[in-house]
Amino acid sequence: MSPIVNRAKERAARLVPMPRVPRAALILLAVVAVLPLIGSAYLMSILIKVGLHAVIGMGLILLTGLAGQVSLGQGVFYGTGAYVSALLCLRFGISPWLAMPLAAAASGLLAAPIGRAILRLRGIIVAGVTLTVNLIFFYLVVSVSDLTGGATGLSQIPRFEYPKVVSYTTFIFYAVWLLAVLCLILTTNLASSRVGRALKSVNVLGHGTEDTPQVLGIDVMHFKVAAYVGAAVFAGVAGSVYAHHISVIEPHTFSVQTSVLVAIMVVLGGVTNPWGAIVGSALIVGLTELLREVAPIVLGGPTGSYELVAYGVVLVLTLLFLPSGLCSLPARIEQWRRGRRL
């Protein structure tokens, strides 16, 4: 065989992906595969919600957990993904399968200049700035009503073309959780790589300065913005799937409330652990459903009040006693047991 072909084959071989897949992820996949056969449609729709929020959350693992930049404004990119995907289908008639990557790319493209601008700032101020940008974006979307349908939003968004052997909900369930596991694998691999170390080096939320990575040759701004764009792409994909799942999107869904809630999910689950996005999402979504449906019946009082109080209490207690989130519980228990043995 000619040396050119050999060399090309060599080069191609070096690009073969061999991601490390955590055993737990395979177990999760197995559970996911089986669930629609035993669960109700209601459970499926809840788990779809968990999965979508977990995907957004994984973006935050990159941005906040690794790189230490708190974003309370991921709703901007969730919304961009949803609206762009919906509009591409409604206005140009393309398939949702094509619209999804385009919408994700749009989110990423939007994130780059915004990230460049606000990530010059350091400290917790960044969180407040993302929150503010989110609010401005929200009002903007509502007011440009010709394009976005204003406060009523967009409806009749086409569904994905899918094999008709299962119901649409089941299909979306599989799609969302496959996506979630994929994001989990990508994030896990990223975290233990050169890029992960570079991102962690930029994390000055504890004590530390951006000087140290700089003198090691790490382009701090590049990595901060890259993490921000990455998180935006995750959120954009989730938004797109959401739009084609529910077929109706309103600006309210991408409001500040959603952004803050997603951030809380990750913090509760454990912001440095990709599983934290799944755990936190399951906790909050589960808690919300439980309190929204059950509590007013049992305890009386307006719907919505109990979950607000619950979010608050759970968040405060977790941050005070398990500041690294729920995923750190096994490690903490281990530490405690070791301490007792001594």
Partner: protein, 291 residues
């Protein structure tokens, strides 16, 4: 475009600007002294309004109701510090900010439980519903809002500049280690900053309720408006916060009054966004070196 429309927009802008500036000042006080971004600030404002409404409906005269509302809100501000912030005082800025978010959620939920969904309002402080001035119609409460903000600014200026306590607070903001070595209790100052912010918020809340009404969920948008004011102008200086607030207020009012309907919000907000992104550290330069 009539002169009276312009005048009306300017006055609305001033009123809104004062509201946002007052919100921003509450954030400024806490952040300046403790470096904590208090995302529960809007809840203090909401509580001020709701509690005043409740006390008034119980028959307490207006001034008394406001004072009682401020007292209860101040207690909640102290609670925020003592129960939530102080136990975690060595945690990262991120954890502290999320703790305030948790507190805000709890307050919102409890408020919803106690007061329910409805919006509540207060009558204007002097009873009259509107003032006519050179062809423009001003809400009767507007002068009170502007007056309150002016008093707040002057009061804070005197407090931080002239009183011992105020100076101690400033010392903590500028140089926490140095302040401690001179014997200033940084914990007490932190508590004071939260209490002060709660009080300011409550007064603002009571004053703006006749204009904007109040409900359990007005806290979050108020916090964000306060953030916008604070960040636009620069949260490291009080002057920045005030300028930021006025800017946002004027932008909102002028665009609503003077531009064609439909896109006015988008234009105003788009402009604000561009300005904001161009200079995210705030329009006013920080004092001395990087803030």
């Amino acid at each position: 475009m009539e002169a009276s429309t312009v005048l009306q927009s300017l006055i609305s802008g001033l009123t809104l600007g004062c509201i946002y500036a007052a919100l921003g000042l509450g954030l400024f006080v806490v952040y300046g002294v403790t470096r904590v971004l208090n995302l529960a600030q809007g809840e203090f404002v909401m509580l001020g309004g709701m509690l005043t409404v409740s006390f008034c409906s119980m028959g307490v005269p207006l001034l008394g109701a406001i004072i009682l509302a401020v007292i209860v809100t101040i207690i909640s501000g102290a609670a925020l510090y003592v129960l939530v912030i102080k136990p975690a005082r060595n945690a990262s800025g991120s954890t502290l900010a999320f703790l305030t978010v948790g507190f805000a959620y709890a307050i919102e939920g409890i408020t919803l439980l106690v007061w329910g969904w409805e919006y509540h309002s207060l009558t204007n402080f002097l009873g009259s519903s509107s003032i006519h001035l050179w062809g423009a119609t001003i809400f009767g409460q507007a002068p009170w809002v502007v007056g309150m903000t002016v008093l707040m600014v002057v009061g804070l200026y005197l407090f931080f500049g002239r009183t011992m306590v105020g100076k101690a607070l400033r010392a903590c903001a500028d140089e926490p280690l140095g302040a401690r070595s001179v014997g200033i209790s940084v914990e007490k100052m932190a508590l004071l900053s939260f209490v002060l912010a709660a009080g300011l918020g409550a007064v603002a809340g009571a004053t703006i309720t006749p204009l904007t009404m109040t409900a359990y969920n007005v806290g979050v948008p108020l916090t964000i408006k306060g953030l916008l004011a604070a960040f636009l102008g620069g949260i490291h200086r009080a002057e920045g916060v005030i300028v930021g607030g006025l800017l946002v207020g004027f932008a909102e009012a002028l665009s609503a009054g003077l531009m064609p309907t439909g896109y006015h919000d988008a234009i105003a907000l788009g402009l604000l966004l561009v300005v904001f992104l161009a200079r995210p550290q705030g329009l006013l330069p920080a004092r001395g070196e990087a803030g």
